[in-house]
């Protein structure tokens, strides 16, 4: 099936520091936008579309344009957690195809590490009165415990083991050690061991919320970045080869009476994205999956269709994931586990997909043609969103 090529990613930038004291999230956003435009060979004044996830001190589409000093003709403030940037790419495909804008940007800036934000272990339920807070706040659930409850159920239903989940952390760290910015990140964030890790290392790290160990949990960093989305006409004249957005899907899922906690919103968003792209999971070279925790990746590998529900343990044992192994390659930048997680990692999934499809990754897969970026926002096991974006090399 012929892929429609209606919008492309033309420029990217990943803010290089993971500990950036004295810098504001807004400065990270503006700096990243400028560098992503330079990467594309485009100018500040070319921007006519602005997507934002309400991050930083910005005020979304209302406040960010004013800070940047631009007057876009399309404003979209979609905030659905860490998958917001997959939703932005999805909307950019739709909006550019409809002629609503030609050069659109999404930016991200966070100083979560410098501000010591306890994202994973801070506890939920401090948001005041709401129907959901009132039912959950008394129990001391943390962000991590939501994911951990998914892991327990997955282990119970399918026999998935901690050793299998740990291999996700091992492969991701292998990629991180090849990425100088990831190595600097782990050094600056004072990781105990800045080196490749083994399954035993993961199992010997302390448990944060059963059954998840420290080395199955993503870091909390500062950081940010930007991506520039353009029309096919603009894509012809940019500095580097465009990377085409050929399919996108969006979905949400939540706690339901009798619901299956081991299946995520990805099971709804991914088929929609693959259908639009006209490709199948077995054609994908690179999977950039939001690795908030090991279990997140395990569930998404199934929900994206790389293996059947319940079979991810065997899929991992079969020897995929690392860039120098055959088959599907995972999170070649080092992921949120070992390179960059300032709170909403979704943007970096797009950025590393672009690097792979341009041939610029530090763990490059030769001849990579197709990538999937899948973001998960909110709480796996609780209310969450899934955003799937299929990307193709020029």
């Amino acid at each position: 099936m012929a892929q429609e090529r209606l919008a492309a990613i033309a420029g990217i930038h990943e803010y290089p520091l993971r500990v950036a004291p004295g810098v504001s999230s807004m400065q990270i956003k503006a700096d990243s936008m400028k560098k992503a435009l330079e990467d594309a060979g485009l100018d500040w004044g070319d921007v006519d579309g602005l997507y934002d996830a309400l991050d930083g001190e910005g005020g979304g589409g209302l406040g960010l344009a004013a800070y940047l000093g631009i007057k876009p003709r399309l404003l979209d403030t979609t905030q659905v957690g860490g998958s917001s940037y997959e939703f932005h790419a999805s909307h950019a495909l739709r909006d550019i195809a409809a002629g609503r804008c030609n050069v659109a940007v999404t930016t991200y800036g966070s100083t979560a590490a410098s501000q010591r934000v306890p994202i994973g272990t801070g506890g939920m339920g401090r948001g005041g009165a709401s129907w959901q807070q009132n039912m959950e706040a008394p129990y001391g659930s943390t962000l991590i415990s939501n994911y951990a409850m998914v892991a327990h159920r997955h282990m119970h239903e399918y026999g998935t083991t901690t050793e299998q989940l740990a291999q996700i952390s091992v492969a991701t760290r292998k990629h991180a050690m090849r990425n100088p910015e990831a190595v600097k990140a782990m050094t600056d964030l004072q990781f105990v061991k800045v080196d490749e890790i083994s399954v035993e290392d993961v199992l010997e790290s302390r448990i944060i919320a059963d059954p998840l160990h420290l080395l199955e949990c993503c870091m909390i960093s500062d950081g940010g970045g930007a991506a520039v989305f353009v029309s096919p006409e603009i894509a012809r004249d940019i500095k580097k080869k465009p990377v085409w957005i050929i399919g996108a899907g969006e979905a949400t899922k939540y706690r339901e009476n009798g619901g299956d906690i081991t299946t995520s919103a990805g099971a709804q968003s991914a088929p929609a994205a693959f259908a639009q792209a006209g490709v199948t999971p077995d054609e994908i070279d690179i999977a950039m999956i939001y690795d908030s925790f090991s279990i997140t990746v395990a569930v998404m590998l199934e929900d994206l269709g790389f293996c059947a529900k319940g079979e991810v343990g065997q899929f991992i044992d079969d020897g995929h994931l690392a860039f120098d192994q055959p088959g599907l390659t995972l999170n070649t930048d080092g992921g949120g586990l070992s390179s960059n997680h300032p709170g909403m990692r979704g943007l970096f999934l797009l950025l590393e997909s672009v690097r792979q499809l341009r041939g610029e990754s530090t763990s490059q897969v030769d001849g990579a043609k197709l990538a999937v970026a899948h973001g998960n926002g909110g709480l796996l096991g609780g209310t969450h969103t899934g955003g799937t974006v299929i990307l193709a090399a020029d």
């Binding site: 009132n134 039912m135 008394p138 001391g140 415990s145 951990a148 919320a209």
Partner: protein, 137 residues
């Protein structure tokens, strides 16, 4: 622990549920077609109609899944040792987040599928709402 975070009011969807806890009742809603609605709301999540009635659960159910939290930096929880957070599937067909009490070591004493019974844990402070928790049976 007897000083868990309390529900906040006014909050019209969940007020009747929490008043039930003061009566020793675990309350849930059904719509006129018999669909179970939980957490409490003003409308049926199946039809959108506002034709809900309240029922009292037997309080018996099974552990659907759980985690034992070892690290929570939130005041009130950070001083605790390991404690369980769980989803309980009540026999009437609704799933709620809760905790499991009466287990010496939560890391070894809880299992998925375990049968549990609700009880209402009294909280410090005058007029505080008792919190529904579950104990293995």
């Amino acid at each position: 622990m007897a000083n868990r975070p309390q529900p906040s009011f006014p909050e019209p969807d969940t007020q009747h549920f929490w008043e039930g806890c003061k009566e020793g009742e675990l309350r849930y809603q059904t719509d006129s077609d018999g669909n179970v609605v939980f957490y409490p709301r003003g409308h049926s999540t199946v039809t959108g109609d506002r034709d809900l009635s309240w029922n009292v659960s037997s309080g018996l159910g099974s552990v659907y899944t759980y985690s034992v939290v070892r690290q929570n930096r939130m005041p009130g929880f950070q001083e605790l040792g390991a404690y369980a957070v769980a989803y309980i599937d009540l026999d009437e067909g609704f799933r709620m987040m809760s905790t499991i009490v009466g287990v010496d070591n939560p890391t070894t004493g809880i299992s998925i599928g375990q049968r549990v019974q609700v009880e209402f844990e009294e909280q410090d402070g005058e007029g505080a709402y008792p919190i529904p928790v579950f104990r293995p049976v």
